[in-house]
């Protein structure tokens, strides 16, 4: 089957999934409460008539199926509507926050992947050595320590005690400029990335290293590795050509999942570091029952997961000749 045709077919299968998920999200959201009531709860002078006028304005008085169809109609025209708070278009909100989240997540995912290669290979080769135990301990630490705890500890030490790194935001730490002697946008962004990226990398690294170590140990026991050795192939080639390609396939799945869940997985870190990303916005929107924004971010998450799945499947077929994209 041609690649184009395959992608087209997979995309068609995604349509009912996306619609199904949007319906469920819509229903759950409406069951959660009345956003107008919530927004105006702190205002004692507001009358019920005024509240109703607001509901009318946002179309919240219409029957839910009708509201859904209206939402769907906008959605297929790539329009997520307007936020209930301030009326900013959801598309605009998402597009400014999207790249901040992607930046932080991609840096962390790729760092975790790249660092895990030498660490995983080394600890498999030197199984039960001091280095292996050290790497495993760091990995277990990374898996078991909650992201928010580590985040707060790092902020306390590196921001509040030492004052080296910013504790919040993704841009603009004017107090740091004199340290570098210049005002440099890229440097500024990097400085902001350090703490949140460290926390996320450590969390992801753990899974990557353990997966690669286990994969390597398993592959190195296989007959085809012994057969390569029996044929006089050098250890380096056995390791980096024949063993690694076999051991790395589970990591490709993990990479695909991590990329798919980039936004869904971001809220805690983004909240701890006040990162201006989609994850934090998602939490805020949910707490405020900002329906259009909740739906918008939910759909972005869904589509990213589905697309990442597709790309993972394609990567698998490319690596493993036994798997075909059928």
């Amino acid at each position: 089957m041609g690649l184009g045709k395959y992608i087209a077919r997979r995309a068609i299968y995604m349509v009912p999934l996306i619609i199904g998920i949007s319906i469920v999200a819509f229903l759950v959201m409406y069951a959660a409460g009345d956003p107008i009531q919530l927004a105006t709860a702190g205002n004692p002078s507001i009358t019920e008539a005024q509240r109703n006028a607001l509901r009318e304005y946002y179309g919240l008085n219409d029957p839910i199926p009708m509201q859904y169809v209206r939402w769907l109609d906008h959605f297929v025209h790539a329009d997520f509507g307007k936020s209930l708070y301030g009326g900013r278009p959801v598309n605009e909100i998402i597009s400014t926050l999207f790249w901040e989240t992607i930046k932080l997540q991609l840096v962390s995912i790729l760092l975790a992947f790249l660092i895990s290669l030498p660490a995983g290979i080394y600890s498999a080769l030197k199984q039960r050595s001091a280095t292996d135990y050290t790497i495993s301990s760091i990995a277990i630490f990374g898996i078991s320590v909650p992201v928010f705890w580590l985040g707060i500890v790092l902020i306390l030490v590196f921001s509040f005690q030492l004052g080296w790194l910013p504790s919040a935001g993704a841009h603009g730490a004017p107090y740091l400029w004199p340290v570098f002697g210049i005002r440099n946008e890229t440097l500024d962004e990097l400085v902001h990335l350090v703490l949140p990226a460290t926390v996320l990398t450590l969390a992801g690294l753990a899974y990557n290293v353990r997966l690669l170590r286990a994969g390597m140990l398993d592959v190195l026991r296989q007959d085809y590795i012994m057969a390569a050795r029996a044929s006089g192939i050098s250890e380096r080639k056995i390791l980096y050509k024949y063993a690694l390609k076999n051991a790395i396939t589970p990591l490709i799945t993990l990479l695909g999942i991590s990329i798919g869940y980039m936004i869904a997985g971001a809220p805690i870190t983004e909240t701890v570091f006040s990162w201006p990303g989609l994850g934090r916005a998602y939490v805020a929107a949910t707490l405020r029952l900002d329906f259009p924004l909740i739906m918008g971010i939910t759909m972005i998450i869904t589509i990213m997961i589905l697309v990442a799945n597709l790309i993972t499947d394609m990567a698998y077929a490319w690596i493993d000749p036994r798997i075909s994209i059928e």
């Binding site: 026991r221 296989q222 007959d223 085809y224 012994m226 057969a227 390569a228 050795r229 029996a230 044929s231 006089g232 192939i233 050098s234 080639k237 050509k241 024949y242 390609k245 076999n246 690596i319 493993d320 000749p321 036994r322």
Partner: protein
């Protein structure tokens, strides 16, 4: 002339459960140009013997003693990098399971050409020509087309031909075939045996045939080495051995072929001993019908009984004379 002379080879596996004494005292010789059978029940140490000669015993295994003379040179004294140059070039090994011994993620041509490139430092297309030539020798249909194909695209028999070609790529002087037919259909088994017999004859190669199957030994081999629990029970040419066998060989020969077990054609009453804590004296004594007191106390030596026949048994004189 002997191409291989193994003396008192000892290979142990240092596992968490204890030291597995896979090879305790292995001595045998292989004459140049001969086909020698290496037989014994499952777990007797046949594969580990081949792995030891190539020095590819996997962790936690270690060769801890003995000498392996190949063409007069002691392989165990070689540096690892010099030893690597022998593997696949002078000594080759065909594995029991062709499916698991081919890397699933690499095309056949790529896997085999790498071996030629590694040893002869030639360009890839030159290496591929050598691969095609050898695949023809191993009677694989359509060698040219096979180069770009992956292992899963071939049948078991075809995969074993590819593995045979892999072992023959650089015209080795000594070839170990580790139960090369055990995992194949019966009809294919005969074809592979014929192929190996023809190759041995045409290329003048020395072949060590590892097998459970006394029928294959009778059909292919001039000499045979019988292993049991990491010890050589006896060695010699097959006429002598079939006529006046060691008690263990006798049991092997007598054991009824069992139809319900395709892998292990023979079975002797009792079990192969635990190699972490092997029996005292003669390792075979718990199962030997001729065992007497001394068999439990003293390890019998491997003795030359004349006519290139070697036996490990306290009672060989009386038993050989009395039958």
């Amino acid at each position: 002339m002997n191409i291989l002379d193994v003396q008192n080879l000892k290979t142990h596996f240092f596992t968490e459960a204890g030291v597995v004494k896979a090879l305790e005292d292995i001595s045998f010789t292989v004459e140049k140009g001969c086909t020698v059978g290496l037989v014994g029940e499952s777990g007797s140490g046949k594969s580990v013997t081949a792995q030891s000669v190539l020095r590819i015993v996997p962790k936690p295994g270690k060769i801890i003693g003995g000498k392996i003379l190949f063409d007069g040179e002691d392989l165990l004294a070689k540096k690892e990098d010099d030893m690597r140059k022998f593997r696949g070039k002078k000594i080759s090994l065909i594995f029991q399971d062709p499916t698991s011994s081919l890397n699933p993620l690499f095309a056949i041509g790529d896997q085999l050409a790498d071996i030629v490139i590694q040893h002869d430092r030639v360009k890839k297309d030159q290496a591929l020509e050598q691969v095609i030539k050898t695949l023809k020798v191993a009677r694989l249909p359509d060698p040219e087309q096979s180069l770009g194909q992956y292992p899963h695209q071939f049948s078991g028999g075809m995969k074993q031909r590819i593995c045979i070609a892999r072992a023959l790529l650089l015209n080795p002087q000594l070839l170990f075939a580790d139960e090369p037919t055990t995992n194949l259909d019966v009809t294919i088994q005969a074809q592979i045996i014929t192929l190996l017999k023809d190759l041995q004859r045409d290329l003048g190669m020395t072949l060590v045939m590892i097998t459970h199957d006394m029928g294959i030994v009778a059909e292919m081999c001039k000499c045979v080495v019988v292993l049991y629990a990491g010890h050589v029970m006896e060695s010699g040419d097959i006429e002598t051995i079939f006529e006046k066998p060691h008690p263990y060989t006798e049991a092997l020969l007598k054991a009824v072929p069992r139809l319900d077990q395709t892998r292990k054609l023979t079975s002797i009453p009792g079990n192969i001993p635990n190699l972490i804590d092997p029996p005292s004296g003669c390792v075979f004594h718990p199962r030997c019908q001729y065992a007497i007191n001394i068999c439990m106390e003293k390890v019998p030596p491997l003795e030359d009984v004349g006519g290139s026949h070697f036996i490990t048994c306290h009672r060989w004189r009386e038993l050989q004379g009395g039958r």
